[in-house]
């Protein structure tokens, strides 16, 4: 389950526990969970994610290998959903395992920053008025740049 692209819901805590179960000599685990957000000033009824699954699998596997090497991670796992998701549902989860906390944090942030700009997913917000493509954010490019 190192890289999973799925149309089905997942259980964040169950995934974390499965990931932690193989944490023999690890001291630190970081989990990032992205959640569908609906706020009072911008209420949405759903978030629809389009995905090029084959490419996502390839790119995220490459990113994962790079993160493991760069931060000396003991393991890393990425799960990303596509399809139609409701507010409050988990969109994706990144998990890292390392001997020490800074590596686990850095690895998770590195993966998140790259996933935002380099993983072939496209979000559409569904509101009462219809659907609208989410625009790519310049600050996501900037966040990715800090690792280069």
């Amino acid at each position: 389950m190192s890289v999973t692209i799925t149309g089905a819901p997942f259980d964040p805590g169950a995934l974390s526990n499965a990931f932690l179960a193989q944490s023999d000599s690890a001291g630190a685990a970081v989990t990032f969970t992205g959640i569908v957000r609906s706020t009072p000033d911008r209420p949405i009824t759903a978030l629809i994610l389009e995905c090029y699954v084959e490419l996502a699998e390839n790119e995220i596997a490459t990113l994962r290998a790079e993160a493991i090497k760069r931060f000396a991670l003991l393991d890393a796992s990425i799960v990303h959903r596509h399809g139609r998701l409701l507010p409050g549902e988990p969109i994706m989860q990144v998990m890292t395992l390392a001997s020490h906390r800074q590596a686990a944090f850095d690895g998770a942030q590195f993966l998140m920053d790259y996933l935002k700009t380099d993983a072939p997913f496209w979000k559409q917000e569904e509101t009462a008025a219809g659907t609208e493509w989410v625009e790519a954010k310049p600050e996501d490019d900037a966040a990715r740049q800090r690792w280069t």
Binding site: L55, K116, P120, W133, E135
Partner: protein, 83 residues
């Protein structure tokens, strides 16, 4: 070769994929984007700013100066918004 379009690009073109046969002078991804933009008005509009698109050859992202020879599926990818 097969071209795939995603997200708003797919919507604007009203198609997710198509078969194309570019001439031999089209050797790189950049050439292909330029050639596609000259195929019809919808493509011309949608691909007006080619630098914003990442492009994959057989499910691997490649730089715009990469040769397309041998690729059977080429995807044109608007700026991504995953994570």
């Amino acid at each position: 070769m097969k071209i795939l379009y995603f997200a708003w690009l797919r919507e604007r073109l009203n198609r997710g994929e198509e078969e194309v046969t570019p001439p031999p002078s089209v050797t790189t991804i950049a050439d292909l984007l330029n050639w596609l933009a000259n195929q019809d008005e919808a493509l011309a509009l949608a691909l007006a700013n080619p630098a914003q698109f990442k492009v994959s050859l057989d499910a691997r992202i490649q730089p715009h100066d990469a040769p397309i020879a041998g690729a059977s599926t080429i995807a044109i990818l608007p700026p991504m918004t995953g994570g």
